[in-house]
């Protein structure tokens, strides 16, 4: 009987180990595929030229593959999205975990979860039909398909991530710290912005990093609302001009790219770059989170 139970235990453990190993293997294979297919481009042009090239003309003769306009496009849209979603997200998280009654918080949370569940193409369509024409009228622009439209949409889409993770961080601040502050005569607001938020700051930073990761990886919505013009955006007036992101470039051009051509390999290099960027962001978020766990524990 005991041997049988042990064997069963062992079998279950092996099955669980192999399922989680599958995830690692898949990631590893994707890595090999991305970097392998991308590497072929650098037989033709140098890595440095690719990174610093100012023009993306993949189908002209001779073609020009410059990552700079696409990278800066991704950057400007993401920065805009963060500027919109961080204040809103952190404020909502503070409200839900510190101010709202349990009933109100319980009503708000499902709505935030629904926001996370809306498909990105629906966000894109909303942006296309509602945000773009109004943005054009409001700011008197030649077109509403701008980096700002992308930032607004991505800002909304990053909200659920930022709210729920910051809320976790704020709720995790031990109550004795807050009680101590209140006992010393601090008002509720003073406690929140001098004690609770600083104590949760690393958790909130991790939330912001994950929100950035969400914004950088988003494809469909940005492709539908940013106009996809591959020119280097100015700053800050670039917000009111069309831009093209790295993800949108892959989605737009992969359809008819001849297999094995330089253009094909260049799209894989963009994919590999995105992979590296998201990996870095996740690592940073993870390390911030770990530090924050120490703080609460000690």
């Amino acid at each position: 009987m005991r041997m049988d139970g042990k064997f069963k235990e062992h079998a279950i453990e092996t099955v669980l180990l192999s399922t989680s190993a599958v995830t690692v293997v898949i990631l590893f294979l994707i890595c090999i595929f991305l970097f392998g297919e991308g590497a072929a481009l650098f037989n033709e042009i140098s890595f440095f030229d690719f990174l610093s090239g100012k023009f993306w003309y993949p189908t002209s003769e001779p073609p020009q593959f410059g990552l700079l306009p696409l990278f800066l496009g991704t950057l400007i849209v993401t920065v805009g999205a963060i500027c919109i979603s961080v204040p809103l997200g952190v404020a909502s998280a503070i409200f839900i975990s510190e101010i709202a009654s349990a009933k109100v918080a319980g009503m708000l949370k499902p709505f935030i979860e629904i926001l996370a569940g809306v498909p990105s193409v629906v966000y894109g369509f909303f942006g296309l039909v509602v945000i773009i024409p109004n943005l054009q009228k409001l700011l008197n622009l030649p077109t509403g398909q701008t980096a700002l439209a992308g930032s607004i949409m991505l800002g909304i889409m990053a909200l659920p991530t930022i709210i729920s993770i910051s809320e976790d961080a704020i709720s995790a601040v031990p109550s004795f710290i807050k009680e101590g502050s209140l006992a010393l005569g601090a008002t509720r607001w003073q406690t929140i912005h001098r004690v609770t938020v600083p104590a949760a700051l690393s958790g909130i930073s991790a939330a912001v990093m994950l929100g950035i990761g969400r914004a950088i990886g988003e494809t469909m919505t940005v492709m539908m609302v940013t106009g996809n013009t591959a020119i280097i955006p100015g700053f800050p007036d670039g917000f009111l001009a069309p831009v093209r992101t790295m993800t949108a470039t892959i989605a737009l051009e992969m359809g008819e790219v001849p297999q094995g051509s330089d253009h094909y390999h260049a799209l894989f290099v963009i994919g590999a770059m995105l992979f590296v960027i998201t990996l870095l962001i996740n690592l940073i978020a993870e390390s911030i989170k770990r530090r924050y766990m120490f703080k609460v524990g000690s």
């Binding site: 993949p58 106009g227 737009l252």
Partner: protein
């Protein structure tokens, strides 16, 4: 008494449950029966893949074709001209749809793979230049359109309109229409770098319909009241895009749409192609908004 009431109350409820169950099972088996019948009856099937421009036509053709020939199956998939041609070269499909001619390099690839591509023109398509209905400009010469798209003309005032910045909209580079326009209007020049790129023709129509500054190029099948078609001129007279003017050759931006087969088609591929080129098929061509051959 009490017991009786309970059972008599329960009985109808139970009955209803059973009846619903039977109904569901019955409906399901009817469905199964149908599927079986169809799969057994289909004796031949072909795969058609390629251009998104030809896609709506091929879909409509295959639907009516299969309604008339229930034992045949024609599967139609989009993806773009290049995707369809690549699939033909690999021997994966029976017919490739294309909105452009095969490139010499593609024909070479096909030959080395033992595939002999044969071209069939199934209909004609006109490319309309469309603006917002509020735009006062309604005629342009081809060289003005070229100027708008290569960036040398940037304000509607320069072509007789009001003082508004021009926002030129293009398809993405995987579109056959993108290449056609680049070759025939821009004469090989690069598009202006600040042109908006849309991933679908529907998106171009939407942006033009809600933006007074915008101009876009679309297949004439996509023209509707939300946008205004521009009369184009290449030698003297201005011509509005329509099925008539494309057919007579008066409208300058028209191109054939193709089916490519491996060798002369045989079997179902031949039957389907004959149907598309026949009177019924060409009737569908007009219905969809393209021009019969």
């Amino acid at each position: 008494m009490k017991k009786n009431i309970i059972t008599s109350k329960k009985l109808p409820a139970n009955l209803a449950t059973y009846m619903t169950l039977f109904l569901i099972i019955g409906a399901a088996s009817i469905g199964i029966g149908c599927v079986d019948k169809e799969t057994q009856a289909v004796s031949e099937s072909i795969l058609v893949k390629g251009s998104d421009t030809v896609l709506p036509l091929a879909q409509a053709e295959s639907e009516t074709f299969m309604m008339a020939n229930t034992d045949k199956s024609v599967t139609v998939i989009g993806g773009g001209s290049g995707v369809g041609i690549a699939a033909l070269i690999d021997g994966e499909v029976d017919i490739a749809m294309a909105s452009r001619e095969m490139k010499p390099s593609e024909i070479e690839n096909a030959r080395s793979n033992g595939i002999d591509p044969v071209e069939h023109t199934v209909c004609w398509d006109g490319i309309a230049v469309a603006v917002n209905p509020e735009n006062t400009v309604s005629t342009l010469t081809l060289s003005q359109v070229r100027g708008i798209y290569n960036g040398s003309i940037t304000n509607w005032e320069e072509v007789g309109g009001t003082d508004l910045k021009i926002v030129a909209i293009s398809r993405d580079s995987s579109s056959g229409t993108y290449e056609y326009f680049k070759e025939n209007v821009l004469e090989g020049e690069e598009y202006r770098p600040d042109a908006l790129i849309q991933s679908a023709t529907g998106a171009i129509v939407l942006e033009v319909s809600q933006n007074k500054n915008a101009v876009g190029y679309i297949g004439i099948a996509y023209l509707d009241e939300s946008v205004k078609a521009i009369s184009l001129n290449s030698d003297g007279t201005y011509v509005l895009p329509s099925a008539e003017t494309v057919k007579t050759g008066a409208y300058p931006l028209a191109r054939p749409l193709y089916f490519y087969t491996n060798g002369e088609p045989t079997g179902l591929a031949k039957t389907f192609l004959d149907y598309v080129l026949g009177p019924d098929g060409q009737g569908i061509v007009s219905e969809i908004g393209y021009i019969p051959v």
